[in-house]
């Protein structure tokens, strides 16, 4: 009778150890994975992501950056007033000279973003590395950020969504805008629009770290005259232009 009890005790002990191991192991693996890519390294104010867009290289008929953005982020590509457009091609005609230029327009990832200031729930936020994002779990869909954005960079999801990308969460009734391909940037990749522009042979979009003096973008900004759109507002956008 006592032997049976010992066997039972041993069985319970071994089962408990095995159960504990099974419970803790996945967590330990996740912990290791997290340690392999510390978040602090990925998002730091030592980095400020930005773009330099050369409008003189932006070809009139080309919309590859727009198509690449739509594909990457699972946007429909529709151009109704209610469709989301995270990047758009703008044609500019100088009112004095009549000169025409083209440029892609997207969220300018401001250093002082008005959308972040006005958001009542802090759903709009700026990461330490300068990328301005919307937390889809906090956005209540009040659209005040859209009223505040000087660049008309934000879209509201007006209808049900299908075929979303797992890397790019979106939600009906919330506001969204260019994420500067944060899911790619965090993996050390370029933005989809910049890649598409290079692939098309135009190289109008240069993406990089504005804070690194040795980066290609920082060197070019030092070398050529660049423009920030609505610089008079003092928002210090991370997206800069040349050739306007």
């Amino acid at each position: 009778m006592s032997g049976t009890n010992l066997d039972r005790r041993g069985f319970l002990t071994k089962s408990s150890v095995a159960f504990a191991g099974l419970s803790i192991a996945p967590g330990m693996i996740l912990f290791d994975l997290a340690q392999a890519h510390p978040l602090g390294d990925a998002v730091s104010s030592k980095v400020r992501w930005g773009m330099l867009i050369d409008s003189s290289k932006c070809e009139s008929g080309c919309t590859d950056c727009v198509t690449a953005c739509n594909t990457e982020n699972g946007l429909s590509g529709g151009v109704k007033a209610t469709d989301s457009q995270w990047i758009r091609k703008v044609e500019l005609k100088d009112l004095r000279t009549g000169r025409t230029t083209f440029l892609p327009m997207l969220c300018q990832h401001c250093e002082q973003p008005p959308c972040v200031d006005v958001c009542p729930t802090a759903a709009s936020f700026k990461r330490a590395d300068g990328i301005v994002l919307v937390d889809k779990h906090l956005c209540i869909g009040c659209r005040y950020c859209m009223m505040a954005c000087p660049y008309k960079a934000r879209s509201f999801v007006h209808e049900n969504l299908t075929d979303q990308k797992t890397d790019v969460p979106r939600g009906k009734g919330t506001v969204e805008s260019c994420t500067l391909c944060v899911h790619r940037v965090d993996k050390g990749q370029n933005t989809a629009c910049a890649d598409a522009c290079s692939k098309a042979g135009h190289n109008a979009i240069l993406f990089g770290n504005l804070n690194d003096p040795e980066s290609e973008i920082a060197k070019r900004i030092r070398a050529v005259a660049t423009t920030q759109i609505r610089a008079d507002l003092g928002l210090n956008p991370g997206i800069q232009y040349e050739g306007i």
């Binding site: 469709d83 200031d117 009542p120 729930t121 956005c139 000087p150 879209s155 209808e159 049900n160």
Partner: protein, 393 residues
């Protein structure tokens, strides 16, 4: 004879009004459900006109809610007896209108189910978030104020609370103006004139609502208003309408003087289709000048004229808000000054907006909420103004 038959069926009429209010609220809720189910695609709003008819209704009610308290403030803060007698009704109307306005504002959200997030996550730099605090505080303060007025033992606290409510409502309406004043890049907004403009408008709109409700209550109870008090209150409405016109004129004159704003002013005041029509015919003529004639023209100014003037002021307020909110967004943002811009996203183009049935029903649903709260509370609580025969100051 007519009064006798009305008195006999008075309870039935009351329940008929409650049913009517309930029906309007139900229609508003159905509209909201339809909008939430399908998304804002079923409204006239889009990525350029992001705030539409629901905001016109909501802002009217929120601004009028603050303005109607003016009647109470004149009584409590400035110790004017005729207004003191009207303070309970003013307090009830303020709560009713605020509730109606906030209902519309909340139910128009893209995610109304997440409204609790607005309470759990607070961004201190957001004027919207400040307003959430201001609205909650307003309900509390006006509730306490009503308590001090309706409960005899609490009467001594009525004056200090009246003063607190007065201060709070001035800040609240400034906050509503700041929602627009803090928009850095929009030609229609971003002006320090907007908070005082909203305060002036609130005085006129709130008093207009008060006149309509008060007159309806007197008629319902087969009583007549003291002509001396009516004269004072209609003159006050006239002064507030003139004050509003002054601020609206100052706002447009300032814009007209700045070269960078003249294109916008030309659009709103002259070339913008529906917007100039609503501004001049709706707000200026029907909503301001005609009421002023009805109030001040010799031979006019009787109760019917005052009610008509008040209804016209309310009509004009909707016209002005439509022009301000929707017209202000329809004019394209000046993203590239010095350039003519065009794109697939409406750059450089006038935004189009056609209000849809669900959003209008939602707006009326908010009015229904205010109406229901008003008729039930004025019946339950003793809020009919009782003027003392000697109340002349």
């Amino acid at each position: 004879m007519l009064a006798k038959s009305f008195a006999r069926y008075e309870t039935r009429y009351f329940y008929a009004l409650v049913a009517l209010g309930g029906l309007i609220v139900a229609m508003g809720l159905m509209a909201m459900h339809y909008m939430e189910e399908h998304g804002h695609i079923v409204t006239g709003m889009n990525n350029q006109i992001v705030w539409g008819m629901p905001h016109v209704f909501a802002i009217f009610m929120i601004v009028a809610a603050s303005g109607v308290l003016n009647v109470a403030s004149i009584g409590s803060v400035f110790s004017k007896a005729p207004y003191k007698a009207r303070a309970p009704l003013a307090g009830l109307l303020a709560i009713a209108l605020l509730a109606g306005g906030l209902t519309v504002l909340m139910l128009d959200l893209g995610r109304p189910d997440r409204i609790i997030v607005a309470a759990t996550h607070f961004n201190p730099t957001s004027v919207f978030a400040w307003n959430i605090v201001l609205y909650s505080g307003m309900f509390t303060l006006v509730g306490l104020y009503l308590w001090t007025m309706l409960e005899k033992r609490m009467n001594p606290w009525s004056a200090p609370l009246g003063f607190a409510v007065f201060a709070w409502r001035i800040i609240l309406t400034s906050g509503t103006g700041m929602i627009f004043a803090f928009l850095v890049a929009r030609q229609a907004y971003g002006s320090a004139l907007l908070p005082p403009l909203f305060i002036a408008l609130s005085f006129a709109w709130g008093l207009a609502v008060f006149h309509v409700v008060q007159s309806a209550m007197y008629a319902w109870n087969s009583q007549t208003q003291d002509p001396a008090i009516l004269k004072r209150m209609k003159n006050l409405l006239g002064v507030f309408v003139i004050g509003s016109l002054y601020f609206v004129a100052a706002y447009h004159m300032t814009n007209l003087y700045f070269a960078k704003q003249t294109a916008f002013e030309h659009f709103i005041l002259s070339s913008g289709g529906i917007y100039p029509v609503l501004f001049w015919a709706g707000y200026v003529v029907l909503g301001s000048l005609l009421p002023l004639l009805l109030i001040f023209l010799p031979g006019l100014g009787q109760i019917k004229c005052v009610v008509a003037a008040s209804l016209l002021v309310i009509l004009g307020s909707f016209a002005l808000l439509y022009v301000f909110i929707i017209g202000g967004q329809a004019f394209p943002l000046s993203i590239f000054p010095g350039f003519a811009a065009s794109s697939s996203f409406g750059d450089g183009q006038i935004g189009s907006y056609i209000p849809s049935c669900p959003e209008i029903l939602l707006g009326f649903g908010g009015l229904g909420v205010a109406f229901l709260i008003t008729i039930v509370s004025v019946r339950v609580l003793d809020s009919l103004p009782h003027d003392l025969p000697s109340s002349k100051n």
